[in-house]
């Protein structure tokens, strides 16, 4: 075997090992949730018993997580898209500052953000015990991702000139925003949306401190289950979580795959343009 072939095989083996390291636990967890008795192993047979038990017992947390994710998406869209537009149009120091500010809740540990919210608003019992308290934390954490996703797309097109073009044809600001700006950041909005929903579904660091027994999300339920219940129940719970989050992650991957470039006809043949 030549050196380069040997190196290739070595690297391939290494990469496959890393892959296994990442994938095997996932598979293991999913299987454990379907095994009748984990201690005995697969020979005890596969069953949906645990999954059904989790579903009937913890349906509320699953729906709450879904609800909060959707609400989080709505809020980040309403707040994030106009902010991204503003940042795309003004490339000055204030814009840099705003970007830095938006990133702060992501840079800081979720614990700190949650603590801050509790010491400030914990007094208002109504707010404190409502799901909106958790929603606020999630929005703070995910807003930067929506803004960044939309901003990335808007920065890649010459937004200023496009808007000037529309303005030269008579379009006012509102018309420009809905006819030109929004349609052209569709991909950014889509990617940002998937990211926000995925992150919200999986958020734990903040939510653990923000939750109450009546406002438990899926990851919070998972932590409870791991601590106190049978391994199989925890695994079944994890299985349900994976089933919900893996399609979202696959969607994110599909969106970030580069698109094939289109063929542009040659300019050199002037008659070619008029051929159908």
């Amino acid at each position: 075997m030549t050196t380069s072939r040997f190196l290739f095989t070595l690297q391939l083996a290494f990469t496959l090992a890393v892959c296994a390291f990442l994938v095997v636990p996932v598979v293991l967890s999913m299987l454990a949730g379907l095994t009748a008795n984990y201690l005995v192993g697969l020979s005890s047979g596969l069953t949906l018993r645990w999954v059904i038990e989790v579903w009937s017992g913890y349906r509320d947390t699953i729906f709450l997580s879904l609800g909060i994710s959707v609400a989080c998406l709505a809020v980040t869209l309403a707040l994030g898209v106009p902010t991204a537009y503003l940042l795309a149009r003004s490339r000055n120091r204030l814009a840099r500052l705003i970007e830095e500010l938006l990133v702060l809740p992501v840079a800081m540990p979720g614990l700190a953000t949650a603590l801050a919210l509790i010491v400030t608003y914990g007094v208002y019992r109504g707010f404190r015990t409502s799901w909106t308290f958790i929603l606020v934390g999630h929005v703070l954490f995910t807003l930067a991702f929506m803004v960044r996703s939309v901003l990335a797309v808007l920065s890649a097109i010459d937004l200023k000139t496009l808007e000037e073009g529309a303005a030269s044809l008579g379009a006012r600001f509102g018309q420009r925003f809905f006819h030109i700006v929004l349609p052209n950041c569709r991909n950014g909005i889509l990617a940002g949306s998937l990211m926000v929903v995925t992150l919200s579904m999986g958020e734990f660091n903040m939510t653990w401190l923000l939750h109450t027994p009546y406002t438990k999300t899926l990851p919070v339920g998972l932590a409870d289950a791991y601590a106190s219940l049978r391994l199989e129940i925890g695994s079944a719970y994890t299985l349900i979580f994976f089933l919900m989050i893996i399609p979202l992650l696959l969607g994110l991957q599909a969106l970030s795959r580069p698109r094939p470039s289109r063929f542009i006809p040659d300019d050199s043949d002037p008659t070619a343009e008029n051929r159908p």
């Binding site: 995925t198 791991y226 992650l249």
Partner: protein, 265 residues
Amino acid sequence: MIVLFLPTAVFFAAFFILPMCRLFLIGGQGAAGWAAYAAILTDANYFNALVATFGVAVATTAVTLAISGIAGVFLQRHKFPGNAALVALLTLPLAFPGVVIGFMVIMLAGRQGLIGMVTEALTGDRLVFAYSLAGLFMGYVYFSIPRTILTVMAATEKLDPRIEEAARSLGASPWRVVFDVIVPGLKPAFISAGAICFATAVGAFGTAFTLATRINVLPMVIYTEFTMSANISMAAALSFMLGAVTWVVLALARTAAGSTVAAAG
């Protein structure tokens, strides 16, 4: 145009800036007063936790960069059937929450874990390390690999192959090309990804929480101060310091190379 930003500004001011200021103030209102902010260095307990946290984070960063460096460059440089599938698998755990990763660490290295069973079959001794810093380390490496690999692959794509060709035309062997051309070329990406890896590991909570409350890393200490000791001021001061450290590390990374942001943990 400022009107566009107004809702976001109001939201942020009310729910982030204001609370953070309050947190800062509360940090100085405890028994120790403003000295609480120095406690992270002066108190033995907290200092140990800090050292342990940094230690795990540094180890995680080093190992993750090494793994992602090799795998990332390999996958970016060699096109073969199944390449895309491998990349997809390696980046899938991108947004897994720390809790789930903690659970998977238990599945691998816990009392009934896979590793335990394998070692028992091989040596008769069951290896269980899930509930120690070693288990935490493994969990941190797990969620750091997907993020760093993406950064490494993106940076590898941007490497100019002509520089490597120039090195080879001057007689450099493949190893020399790696060390003299590729690694220096990827340095900004490594710095950026490494900083994010470090910052995320320092601030991670979910994994440590799942594995046990006995693990003495800073986020766990903060949590126990808050919930068990009801020592809000100390918890506030410590979490503020923790936040400051992660923010500084990430700011340094951003100035060194581009901009990326941590997620989950």
